[in-house]
Symmetry: C2
Subunit: 353 residues, 2 copies
């Protein structure tokens, strides 16, 4: 089909789906197995000695991003939440398939900016487009399946942490959750300076997946997951499936300067940081004898990590203690995607999430 025919009353563009694909998506499909988006399906074969790792995540208007959000940011966010999952499994990104659900008032300009966002992230992270689908869906929705590779048998599971392992977390925790509060004009952040507010907002709007950490995770970690639903809940998950306990001093959890300032003004915000989600950092466990090699490896990858606990036997849960040494009680320990009160915030997924 020629891409230049216009069918019907699609708004603000003379392009039909084929036209959109040719103009905006085909340039992203640079891998041979994507067949220039000219086929029903794509083909990919992991190199000998490698396993494929697959994950799928979606974001929807009004739930994960606000109406009017920049299309390029939406595209990047949708891709990055998937790349974060791959990184936590130790996988190097290869490609992705995208389903774009268009709202009734979509425009060609919106699609152009969406594709531009993907193009920028393809350059940053080295994954290319392998295919997808464009439908009308009432509101904007983006679902992405991303895939990557690990050395054969080398996927890093959530299960696998052993007594004595050190628990590391990358980057800083809580910025995304505080950024959401800032976006909502929450009064608890009213006195925060502009620079701090901007930092939190940017962390909320656009995840920074720790793709650079994947190789170190693959080489040294016994277990890992990405922090999308909150540090407390996600560390709980790792402990549960590994059958171990991790006792974390809340004071050891790395906070950004901005989050630190917010918590200093209102100490109750510490709970928001620990349970709020949207971090897209990585938790991993590393055997003590490999800890220094792991730290050297991530340091050369220029990713900050901090040890927050050592794993003890049995129990199957994470415990967080405050500065008085008392165990903290969080109520909801992580966000859920499907509960209505979590609207605009839910993030997590299930395998392959």
């Amino acid at each position: 089909m020629s891409g230049s025919e216009a069918h019907g009353a699609a708004p603000a563009t003379s392009l039909d789906e084929q036209g959109l694909i040719e103009r905006y998506f085909r340039p992203l499909a640079t891998a041979p197995g994507a067949f220039s988006l000219l086929d029903d399906a794509a083909s990919y074969t992991p190199p000998p000695g490698a396993d494929l790792v697959l994950t799928k995540d979606g974001i929807a208007e009004d739930i994960h991003f606000l109406p009017g959000e920049d299309a390029g940011v939406i595209a990047r966010k949708a891709l990055r939440v998937n790349l974060s999952d791959l990184a936590a499994k130790g996988a190097t990104p290869v490609g992705y398939l995208v389903l774009l659900g268009l709202s009734d008032d979509w425009s060609e300009d919106w699609v152009a900016r969406f594709a531009e966002g993907l193009a920028g992230d393809q350059n940053l992270y080295g994954a290319t487009l392998y295919g997808g689908d464009t439908i009308r869906s009432g509101r904007f929705i983006v679902t992405i399946t991303a895939f990557g590779t690990v050395a054969s048998g080398g996927i890093v599971r959530r299960a696998g942490a052993r007594a004595g392992d050190h628990v590391y977390v990358s980057g800083t925790i809580g910025d995304g959750a505080l950024g959401l509060l800032a976006a909502r004009g929450d009064p608890r952040l009213a006195g925060l300076g502009e620079k701090h507010r901007a930092h939190l907002l940017s962390r909320y709007h656009l995840p920074q997946p720790r793709v650079a950490l994947a190789e170190s995770v693959a080489r040294f970690a016994t277990a890992a997951l990405d922090v999308s639903d909150g540090l407390v809940g996600d560390l709980d998950k790792l402990c549960t499936v590994s059958g171990v306990t991790a006792r974390v001093s809340a004071a050891d959890v790395p906070l950004s300067e901005a989050a630190g300032a917010a918590v200093k003004r209102d100490p109750a915000l510490l709970s928001v940081c620990l349970t709020g989600g949207d971090d897209y950092e990585i938790i991993c466990t590393v055997p003590p004898e490999k800890a220094s090699d792991f730290e050297a490896s991530v340091s050369s990858a220029a990713v900050p990590v901090r040890k927050i606990a050592e794993v003890t036997q049995n129990g199957g849960r994470a415990e967080f203690v405050d500065s008085a040494g008392l165990e903290m009680d969080f109520g909801n320990r992580s966000f859920s995607h499907i509960d209505s009160h979590a609207a605009s915030h839910d993030r997590g997924t299930y395998s392959g999430r």
Copy 2:
């Protein structure tokens, strides 16, 4: 996370996302690489000598199915449109990832029936769940990424048809499009008998992907695609990318008894059959010297196929001629997903569609 905690005000169920996963989705995740849906991502490695084939398609309430449609049918439809793409590429299905977008009035019973639909199709087609994501999306939306395998280098492309090849189409054409008219109470089908109407409706509601044809396609076809946007438009696509022409006598296109009866009452419905989409049959081209082996092979797979044309050099298009030998003029030659007039009907996708 325990699956039994209830967060917030999700309607008609005490289960949160983890609870839904444990109860309804985990039993579908039987492959070792799905990790019982307990991890961030899944793992799969094609056996030596095989390539992976990937495709992604989505369907949305109000666009591809009506509000109130049975959740099991929605699940099956979403999976089957993907399996149809794999079959057309000659690929044997292996697994799939599903994103389920829940409307605001979702219920646990709806999710239970959705999972039941998937379970039934897993048994029928041999693909199992590898992961996914559940989000709130305002209206029900299902996007699926399915994957399968072909012998190394053996994916059957749309490009590849050569002069002299026979053009085959499986099953019957037009039932889905007429079924949509029937569902809408279109007066042109008013006089059709109940049995015929039921046949058309069932073909519209639930595609029957030609998974059983995949092996024959892989062994004998030079080019193939699945008919999702209408025979005319999809054969156009195959001809365009292959750089060949196929001239089809409309009278040779296989119609079901029901479609034949409808066209007999109103001959203008023939155009609807040829361009209407929703067929999920396979078009493939087979070299003349392999035609009889191909026919024997599909016959043993119990899939009806009919030769509808022979490919001629150059041109890059499909021509359909009527009983008087005149070329038919269709206006829109296939349905588009994103044009508003195509609402409730659009189906196609792009690679990997």
